[in-house]
């Protein structure tokens, strides 16, 4: 409907799937341990889901922070991720968590990683429907959502960095991060854990993480991403602070990780 109001090309006929119960709610797939979130689950329902808060606290934090209270009560997680994912707090969280869309048709279903989202909406075939979001359980994992707001707390961020630190192992690996509101597409900052030397020697961890995040951003730019440049922040400012937020996110997430 928003696209229609904005004058973008849309179809002639619309079918509302908003009230299909199969597309709503949060469940745990006991066979895989993954969280299954119906695509039509509203952000407010997701944010307040006890199950999701245990298994994907990063995602519930992002869902609870996105947009405004009024919008969160209407917007769905599927819609939020698929409509301009580059400007979505939950999208950053979903990428850091390694989440995937479940796309179903009459003949079967396929998984599409959120991090594979193109610049705009995910392409689905005519007979397909995005039915849910599958999120590997992050229970006990470390997480952090860093939102930098430059025009007040009621505004969308100028930059969001989400970080997920895997449980177990005790080592530095398994630090996945993503950034939104940074460029014209989702920026997967990848595994920042590789930047941290196992012996902890050398430059500070924060500086190494910041450098790694900046390098990942620059790789995304070389691959065609274009930094956002708007009233909230210039492109240069966004690039300058992405590492700062990433380092803070890793520090916070590491502190939250279960021993």
């Amino acid at each position: 409907m928003l696209a229609r109001r904005l004058g973008k090309p849309t179809g002639d006929r619309w079918i509302s799937v908003g009230r299909l119960p199969e597309l709503r709610g949060v469940d745990l797939d006991t066979s895989t341990g993954d969280l299954a979130i119906g695509a039509a689950t509203t952000l407010v329902d997701l944010a307040s889901s006890p199950l999701a808060r245990i298994h994907a606290p990063l995602l519930t934090a992002a869902a609870g922070a996105a947009a405004s209270a009024g919008i969160r009560s209407i917007a769905t997680i599927g819609g939020n991720l698929l409509d301009t994912p580059s400007a979505s707090d939950p999208a950053a969280a979903a990428v850091a968590l390694g989440a995937s869309f479940v796309v179903r048709s009459a003949v079967g279903e396929r998984l599409v990683p959120v991090r594979a989202l193109p610049v705009s909406t995910l392409a689905v075939e005519a007979n397909e429907l995005v039915v849910s979001l599958r999120v590997p359980s992050g229970a006990g994992a470390g997480w952090s959502l860093q939102r930098l707001q430059t025009q007040g707390r009621g505004d969308r961020p100028a930059l969001t960095v989400a970080v997920h630190v895997a449980t177990g192992g005790g080592g530095p690996a398994g630090i996945r991060a993503a950034a939104t509101f940074l460029a014209d597409r989702l920026v997967d900052l990848g595994d920042l854990g590789g930047a941290v030397p196992a012996d902890g020697r050398g430059p500070s961890t924060a500086a190494l993480i910041a450098d790694a995040a900046l390098a990942a951003t620059d790789r995304a730019l070389q691959a065609g991403a274009v930094l956002l440049d708007d009233t909230r922040a210039s492109a240069g400012y966004r690039r300058a602070v992405v590492g700062v937020l990433a380092a803070r996110a890793v520090a916070e997430a590491s502190g939250r990780r279960a021993a």
């Binding site: 930098l148 707001q149 430059t150 025009q151 007040g152 707390r153 009621g154 505004d155 100028a158 708007d230 009233t231 909230r232 922040a233 210039s234 400012y237 300058a240 602070v241 700062v244 937020l245 803070r248 520090a251």
Partner: protein
């Protein structure tokens, strides 16, 4: 602190709401956009895409043929009606009804499309093709004032919209005697008022009578303009002002009313114009300003002299520019003892959207400069900035830098209270959101504290009239042309009338402006309603009371001066009583009225014989604590504590809301609001998606804003509180940021990107070019 208290009115406490609060928050308040009349059509403006040029031709055929269009009105229609030479404006007659020959800013109205629906009018307006011979434009006030500048308006070759100068004391000798001399320059950007309700105007003509519903803070003046423009008698214009959804000075000018009335007469139908949000940004803005200020002090840390030079960009029309120029000029040096001073304040025409009055009326820009420089001077002397202010603030009996007596000087009381609340471990948190005060959770966060003290005049002289009428049912109507903008004026005026008459609020009915029945009022701006209209209402209510007691004395057979009043009844010493409805019935008149006029004439300085600038001063101080993130530049206002001089509080919740609103309103302009103009003078951003205003989420974790009152036994002049704190927000925060990270920003807003850039530059400078870690 001495000489004041925070005593609450007996019988009135914070549970007393604003009279219209429930209607406003439940969406039942009727605004101008809600008014419809039979046969109403809609008018949409066609705006100039360029900032300057001659209108050669307008292609209107396609628009005229578009669905629903009744007429496309152009300058030729204005010319044919003999109104091409008409100019209007509150302070300078420089606004045409519609562009006839030339355009003076991008957004200037060059045609008006009238259609059955607003959507049809908008669609057709897009079909009008203007042919404008583009001319050079000027956007910067200093460039506009240069000798070789292009001219914004023919006939005004120097682009000088106004100039105000004042000097006092022996400046030359003071300069030579000063132990320290410092000069700094500051600037402020354009901004927009962003009242939730945009400008709306509806006009209809019936039998040669013009009736208008409009969003104006100035109904009496706008009615006068319409009478003049259309050559009418006073009784031929009736102007209504429903409740406004905010104004903040942006509706203090005649804007669309003459055009809408003209179009309605031309098409023979009632028509309504309702601005879209983007139209608001070219209708009126806040003045961009550039201010240089110089101070000299002695070894004892006292001002020896101060001078300032202010340059304002007025945009293409004057609106309230002359008042802004003067108010900022008076306020820029602050409420300090300054033996010698000189100020020059000049406002220039530029090819930008018109700038008008804006909550704070130029004092925001002035205090941003003046109060930051106070801290810079204190730092140069190695003095604590609060102590420096204590040494220099005027007290009762002192004179202001203008040479006039400071009058009821309470600035020091305001400062001490604000500082005490900031330093208090347990400040009054009633106004605070239940959000814990954030800690310094990472090493990049640095804390700092800052204060600012402000002075602002009120319009002097000005006139307010009031009628207070007892109806046959024993209820009382309070008729004034004070505009209800959400600031609570109906509640305040009703309380004043009710108290004077000895009746409860349930029987007092404030009437919104309707020039057919409400008397003249100068303006609902300058924080003057509580003061000036309130005084008129109190006098009118006492006038009514005299008549009421006379009538009651006849009924009770007791002299009027032996009666006392309680709950709408006049009571004799022996207990016999008569209620107001019975008195009203006895006199057999439609109503019993009391009337009054209040004029705040400028008092004459007994020593100099000169009139004073203001009949009293709005006085306030703000103390804040900020946390600055050095790595991102984000400034968080953790604590804000304000104190404003009220003299006498009429409505406790109203005073609190006004004071808090001052600070919250100022946060956005301090931290992120800024209107930029492109190469064609077009503003950006122009949507509320990108032009953000503060929300309750931005309220500091610890936040108080108190209204200080005089002792009950003393003289208790009521002060308006609409602007006493807002000018203090930006300089207090600027001073706190400087204290936190040792970086002084001289241009607003303190957007994270600008703060970070300043920190990086300072670090590079300190490190000899090395970049920040």
């Amino acid at each position: 602190m001495t000489g004041h208290s925070e005593r609450r009115w007996a019988g009135l406490d914070s549970s007393d709401p604003m009279m219209d609060a429930l209607e406003r928050v439940t969406g039942r308040t009727r605004y101008a956009i809600d008014v419809t009349v039979p046969g109403m059509a809609h008018v949409v403006l066609v705006r100039s895409p360029v900032p300057a040029g001659r209108i050669r031709r307008l292609e209107t055929d396609a628009a005229s043929r578009a669905a629903g269009v009744l007429r496309v009105v152009t300058g030729e229609d204005v010319e044919a009606a003999g109104l091409a030479g008409v100019r209007f404006g509150t302070m300078a007659k420089d606004q045409p009804i519609l562009g006839v020959e030339y355009v003076s800013f991008a957004g200037d109205a060059i045609a008006a499309v009238v259609a059955e629906t607003a959507a049809q009018a908008h669609a057709a307006a897009a079909l009008v093709v203007p042919h404008i011979e583009r001319a050079s434009a000027v956007f910067d006030p200093d460039e506009a004032l240069a000798a070789d500048a292009v001219t914004v308006h023919p006939g005004r070759p120097d682009n000088v919209l106004g100039r105000w100068q004042l000097a006092n004391g022996a400046l030359a000798s003071a300069r030579s005697e000063a132990a320290f001399r410092m000069r700094h320059e500051f600037s402020s950007p354009a901004a927009q008022h962003v009242s939730l309700e945009p400008h709306v105007c509806l006009a209809r003509w019936e039998d040669g009578q013009l009736e208008t519903w409009t969003t104006s803070q100035n109904p009496s003046r706008v009615a006068e303009e319409l009478i003049r423009i259309f050559n009418l008698e006073a009784g031929q214009v009736r102007l209504h002002v429903p409740s406004l959804g905010g104004a903040y000075g942006g509706k203090n000018h005649a804007k669309h009313e003459p055009l809408v009335a003209f179009v309605a007469r031309l098409v023979g139908r009632p028509v309504r114009l309702a601005n879209r949000r983007e139209d608001e940004f070219v209708t009126v803005t806040k003045h961009p300003a550039r201010i240089s200020i110089e101070s000299g002090v002695d070894h004892g840390g006292r001002f020896v002299y101060r001078t300032a030079r202010l340059r304002w960009s007025g945009g293409a029309h004057a609106l309230s520019s002359l008042a802004v120029m003067r108010a900022g000029g008076i306020a820029v040096l602050g409420p300090y003892r300054i033996p010698a001073a000189e100020v020059e304040s000049v406002v220039a025409y530029t090819n930008l959207p018109p700038a008008g009055s804006f909550r704070g009326l130029g004092v925001n820009q002035a205090a941003w400069a003046g109060e930051q420089q106070v801290d810079l001077v204190a730092a140069e002397l190695g003095l604590d900035p609060i102590e420096f202010r204590r040494r220099n603030l005027v007290r009762a009996g002192d004179r202001l830098w203008t040479g006039e007596p400071a009058g009821d000087a309470r600035w020091l009381d305001c400062l001490e209270r604000a500082v005490a609340d900031l330093e208090s471990a347990t400040p009054d948190r009633r106004a605070s959101r239940p959000r814990p005060e954030p800690g310094l959770d990472h090493p990049d966060r640095r804390r700092g504290r800052g204060v600012a003290v402000v002075m602002k005049h009120t319009i002097t002289p000005s006139r307010s009239e009031a009628v207070v009428a007892l109806r046959p049912d024993g209820h009382v109507e309070v008729r004034t042309s004070a505009v209800d903008m959400g600031q609570g004026s109906p509640t305040v005026l009703a309380r004043i009338a009710g108290r004077a008459l000895g009746i409860g609020l349930d029987r007092v009915h404030p009437i919104l402006p309707d020039t057919a029945i409400t008397p003249f009022d100068a303006t609902s701006s300058s924080s003057r309603v509580t003061f000036a209209v309130g005084e008129a209402v109190e006098r009118a209510a006492r006038d009514l009371l005299d008549r009421l007691l006379e009538a009651a004395s006849v009924a009770l057979g007791v002299p009027p001066d032996e009666l006392h009043r309680s709950d709408g009844r006049s009571i004799a010493p022996d207990g016999r009583q008569v209620d107001d409805a019975a008195v009203a019935a006895r006199i057999r008149l439609p109503e019993l009225t009391g009337t009054a006029t209040f004029v705040n004439e400028p008092a004459e300085d007994v020593e100099t014989g000169k009139p004073v600038s203001s009949s009293h001063w709005h006085q306030g101080a703000l103390a804040v604590q900020v946390a600055v993130d050095r790595a991102t530049g984000v400034v968080e206002i953790e604590r804000a504590h304000g104190a404003a001089w009220a003299g006498e509080v009429v409505s406790v919740p109203g005073a609190r809301l006004q004071n808090e609103g001052n600070v919250i309103f100022g946060l956005g302009q301090t931290l992120w609001e800024r209107l930029e103009f492109d190469a064609d003078g077009r503003p950006s951003p122009v949507t509320m998606l990108d032009y953000r205003i503060p929300s309750l989420l931005d309220v500091p974790a610890a936040f108080t804003a108190v209204a200080l009152e005089a002792e009950p036994s003393g003289h208790r002049e009521r002060h308006g509180l609409g602007e006493s704190l807002i000018p203090a927000v930006a300089p207090a925060v600027g001073n706190a940021v400087a204290a936190a990270v040792d970086v002084r920003l001289v241009d607003l807003p303190l957007h994270p990107e600008r703060v970070r850039a300043a920190i990086v530059a300072a670090d590079e400078s300190r490190n000899g070019g090395a970049t920040m870690a």
